[in-house]
Symmetry: C2
Subunit: 328 residues, 2 copies
Amino acid sequence: MAVTIREVAALAGVHVSTVSRALSAPHLVNAATRERVMASARQLGYRPNRAASALTTGRTHNLGLIVSDIANPFFPPLIKAAQAYSREREYHVFVADTDEDPQIEEELIRTLTKQVDGVVLVAPRLTNQTIERLSLELPFVVVNRKVKGVSTVLMDIGHGTETAVAHLCDLGHRHLALLAGPRTSWTSEQMRRAAGRAAEARQVQLTVIGPNAPSEHGGTAAASRVLASGATAVIAYNDLMAIGVIEGLTEAGAGVPGDVSVVGVDDTVAGRLSRPKLTTIMMPTAAAGRAAVDLLLQRIDDADDVQAQTILETGLTVRESTRPPAKP
Amino acid sequence: MAVTIREVAALAGVHVSTVSRALSAPHLVNAATRERVMASARQLGYRPNRAASALTTGRTHNLGLIVSDIANPFFPPLIKAAQAYSREREYHVFVADTDEDPQIEEELIRTLTKQVDGVVLVAPRLTNQTIERLSLELPFVVVNRKVKGVSTVLMDIGHGTETAVAHLCDLGHRHLALLAGPRTSWTSEQMRRAAGRAAEARQVQLTVIGPNAPSEHGGTAAASRVLASGATAVIAYNDLMAIGVIEGLTEAGAGVPGDVSVVGVDDTVAGRLSRPKLTTIMMPTAAAGRAAVDLLLQRIDDADDVQAQTILETGLTVRESTRPPAKP
DNA sequence: GTGAAAGCGCTAACAC
DNA sequence: GTGTTAGCGCTTTCAC
């Protein structure tokens, strides 16, 4: 076994409790002894055993980060930022992937409960009710969802959607299709509403298609319905779905952006790399990752169960997949 | 605090140790009492506190997974597979990103040591010597690296590289460039050797350029040197770099694959999505993730420090970025 | 300012 | 087959 607080105490010629204090509450300890303790600790290469301290303090210094699909390029920048920021704040993070399955999600939270001080749920597939229930036992921060009593980080997709609709209308489109995401996605619901409002305001037709799987395949599968609807422009739930629908449309003989314009959401590498380069609603994923951890630690440290909320701006990145509609 | 083994014991009318046994060594307990214990546990929603049991058993049931850059599309499928497989085996995984920085990598391993039963190092940036030293304190599995005394999962990039060289030679190329990766990358070194051998065997010229950053930027930055070398085909260290060099070449007026052919490595979504679609050496990332966890758990459970090794096959995925050289 | 002692939740000898 | 006991490494009263 590795070096313990005992050995540090022995070397420094003090009691273990003094070592403990020197390390976690330095101001309670004489400067001279503190120095001696620190020196011994350094010399022995002492590293506190967090499992042990978790037992007494109830603080594990670990966080959970639960996402629906790590392989979706939306998540990695968020995970990366959350993890880097946690490391700065001396927290480790368990990253878990639920494969879009609410049951796995709940089970994961359950088994993680004892091992973490809090959990960040990104775009959960769980119902609000379930999240509310679980949040009684453990601090949560939810990203892209509103849940009563739970701190949230929201990316203002409503605004981004309006901008996208405006962009398409300005190009001259009069009939838009919206490819919805998973049924329990808050983001998808926000998009639907915002698109509905914006379309009405501008007097253009809107066809909602879905729910669809938030993947390339979800997009290709929806292509025929887009064509059947007669829409000349489509806004997809995310970049992956947008790329998929472009494939599907192209295969069906409809050019993008020649015949149909396509807008994605997330602004992932995928959209930047695929051709035509995707016009997409930018989601501030890295900022969201940091903000979520920030809120979570705040909640953990203060324990005044204040429900905080951070709203992040979205924007429209116009590239090559949108263009005025073909003249009939 | 949540429900403990004590309360379960009280409800079942037995001693805590009986509960502990019923849960972790059921065969040591009378079937009837076991049932009673189980029932009580279920009724109270008891979940063992792993931090506590870690303290006595020395087993945390956690693993560490350390990668250089989560945002590199090479990693997510590996992480996803490793995590899903760990979950099946009742392990949680800490995922950490080192930002390509060996110092962060070492520090991360150090702080993780007490909290995990073992660590998977994917394409580490640390020196073999450092890894050997660290492996004395904790079981390791290294992916795409050979380290004395440490179990490894290798993707046979040498073979993939030979296949790629053969493919380019068959197309008629007589001068190839190899864009090397980071200096401490085992994969890069294997590629260099295999490409050297294969080029010599086929009597074609090979120019090695690098080291380069394993990113798009690393690729664009190297484009001018590719052009200067006079090579008509280039094999890049990974897909990202390949995409970058294509951008760089295109900007410099050299068409891909018209003037120069480009081969990537990894077979990520990025390569499939970008245009021209990338010809690339396929790396079995998901399989590697599972294999790594498998080896690690084996090592943890058996403790006979046998050094195991799993070799995974690579292959060549031919798409649009390679073509016969332009006639001079 | 520092030491002594109890205890976090659990497991692992050792009795019986 | 089950209870008793000690103790994992650390923190935290409580004395002094």
